[in-house]
């Protein structure tokens, strides 16, 4: 089993490499750094674009060399250059050939620093990959050295249909990374309705009722997970409250070595990653790296 890193270009490489190294260190798996270039045209006698193809090969090789230099020395990695008709297709192909257990991507440079934002490649992969996909926030760095591993896996837990299986998947991930597991549910509650004449805290009652239900489900799930043969080292559950998703995600508290896991939407195909609307809101507001699990 190995991790496949889709190498982004330019300044974004460092963040993605940092995350890939951290994950590889935690799970002890091999890392495959993969750079994808555009596919060659059908060979023609004239060889008009031979020089251009050569230039592309060079560019890809250069980026791989740069990655080699940046990668922390304690992580062993192999480097692959492929040509494919599209970057997502090339990445998924390499992942398939290597029997990869996870695909790692960087954030788009359109997002803010410290946030996960999906570029066009990530967007495509997050709606089709058959294996978990990890995303580094923009500018992600973790403490250097062999100590930088994943310490806690936080599962964004919706407590709706199919979430039991997702929790099992997240627990598996935590075990793989030798990390603790935290179930986190997020409540986004809008402000009060001022003129309804039912007081400005009518929503608190609704939220209280919701919390009680979620806490019960979380407890049940934790009990179920504890009975698993490969249960994580330690488990806890939290609820994040906020007026919007950002507040709510931040409310649960994050530290170094945290990893957020979300599941795929129930409307997506089986055994594929398919980022739903709520999961994508959580992903976009996550201050830590994110892993999206396929639907099991």
């Amino acid at each position: 089993m190995s991790l496949v890193l889709g190498l982004p270009r330019g300044e974004r490489t460092t963040a993605a490499l940092n995350l890939a190294a951290q994950l590889a260190r935690s799970s002890g798996e091999d890392l495959v750094v993969c750079a994808v270039g555009p596919a060659t045209w059908p060979p023609s006698l004239a060889k008009v674009d031979a020089e251009y193809q050569e230039y592309l090969d060079q560019a890809i090789q250069q980026s791989l060399d740069a990655a080699k230099a940046t990668l922390p020395p304690d992580v062993s990695a192999s480097f692959v250059a492929v040509r494919a008709r599209s970057t997502p297709a090339g990445l998924l192909e390499v992942a398939d050939q290597q029997g990869a257990s996870m695909l790692v991507l960087g954030s788009s440079s359109a997002g803010g620093t410290g946030r996960v934002s999906l570029g066009s490649v990530a967007d495509h992969v997050l709606h089709s990959a058959p294996i978990p996909v990890a995303m580094a926030p923009r500018g992600y760095r973790c403490a250097p050295g062999p100590g930088a591993t994943v310490r806690r896996v936080t599962a964004g837990y919706g407590a709706t249909g199919g979430s039991e299986q997702f929790a099992v998947g997240a627990a598996g991930l935590a075990t793989r990374f030798n990390a603790t597991l935290r179930l986190a549910s997020f409540a986004v509650r809008p402000g009060p309705v001022l003129t309804a004449g039912v007081g400005l805290h009518a929503e608190d009652g609704v939220l209280g009722e919701w919390s009680r239900h979620i806490e019960r489900v979380q407890r049940d799930t934790l009990a179920h997970l504890a009975a698993l043969p490969a249960a994580p080292l330690a488990m806890e559950a939290v609820i994040g409250y906020g007026r919007d998703w950002q507040e709510s995600v931040e409310d649960v508290g994050w530290t170094d070595g945290d990893l957020l896991v979300v599941g795929s939407s129930a409307v997506g195909p089986l055994a594929r990653v398919f980022l739903g609307s709520r999961a994508s809101k959580i992903v976009r507001n996550s201050p830590v790296p994110v892993v999206v699990l396929p639907r099991s």
Binding site: R189, T195, H201, G205, R278
Partner: protein, 496 residues
Amino acid sequence: MADVRAQLARLRSRLRYLGAQLLRRKPVTAMAEETGADSGSGQLTRTIGLFQLSMIGIGGVIGTGIFFVLSQAVPMAGPAVVWSFVIAGVVAGLTAVCYAELASAVPVSGSSYSYAYATLGEFAAMVVAACLLLEYGVSTAAVAVGWSQYLNQLLENLFGIQIPQALSAAPDAGGWLNLPAVVLVGLCALLLIRGTSESARVNAAMVVTKLCVLALFIVIGVRGWNSDNLAHFAPYGVSGVYGAAGVIFFTFVGLDAVSTAGEEVKNPRRTMPLAIMIALGTVILVYVCVALVAVAAQPAEKFKDQEAGLAAILQDVVGASWPGTVLAAGAIISIFSVTLVVLYGQTRILFAMSRDGLVPSVFRKVNPRTVTPVRNTVIVAVAVAVLAGLIPIDFLSEMTSIGTLVAFIVVSVGVIVLRRTAPDLPRGFRVPGYPLTPVLSVVGCILIITNLRPITIVAFLVWTIAVLAWYFAWGMKHSELGRAERERASVEDGTP
């Protein structure tokens, strides 16, 4: 002889037990606990100032009925309907002041139901709840029916089409079903299921929209002023004026929003009465101007059964359709927001009752995904949609009025009762002019109620009796408060 005495004693103790049940009050600490949850929102910051509180009052009141109430009220009172607005407004103001004292005695936020439960006991709370179900549920229906009139007017003006009478009127008014009203309620329910809020900014924007629409009516409509229309000022005398006040009263529903925000108001002693007066003054002024312009613009006979009344009057005055179109568009936006807010209020009152164990637990089930009480919202929306689709508007607005009036009587009496039974209870706000204010408030409400149509009063009594029958048959046994008491008693007795 001894036998009879023993029986009498047993009967007396049973009656006493019943009385204790009816008067059991919900401790304030319990209310604080359940609203606070562990979401860190329990601590209060007093953040609402005079301006914002006044805006809450104006936003809560304006728009509930002024757009369509004239077609029912003017045939009852003639041009003297102007006075009906003043009377209804003054009574609403008196009760709002009483309400504010009751609300301030309970340092947690809630509706009049929660205040009644905490101060007057379970039975009074149930009576208030019966009234509130009318005030909210039925007024949502009434407002939705008014919305469908303006929608039809707008469609007519813009595209020259109209929804057929069969699909835009209640059976009693010559149709099969009021479809637009049903659709409106459905749309609002969808928004509520998704989760909605109304910030101070949204409210301010709505207030400005509503005031602009009504100002447009006044400014343009006054050009059609014809003093001849005012010649027979009060053709039906004083009783007509009071009768119309009863119909109109529901256009003042929502003033209690000021009182329920009390907990977060800076310096409530000063701010509260001022805000109520500012809101009420503004609303009465606007309503009276609208009514005066309307009755001066067309003869009283023309009001009867006039649909989308304000838009129709403007079109007659100007002789063109554009003012009617603008007004109808404004009315559609305003009424939509009001329907949403009132429907929301209804679901949250039932939610609170369900938590107290007085209605079934289905009303407090919260959907884990949307964090809203979905089933509750659906049930309420279906009930309101049925009312809005099948019952004509005049009956709906009278039922709303009587519900509100009786709730206000309970609140005003409650203020007097509480001053006697718990004189030392800390109150953030005290009624000025006690005991005159609550007494006047009760008298005013009774005066208006007695001038309502007998059928409305009968329907109200039937409804209240039905709710109380529900209480004695189900709610009393399932009350959370009662359950807690029984548990405590069994612990004390040492019996499991």
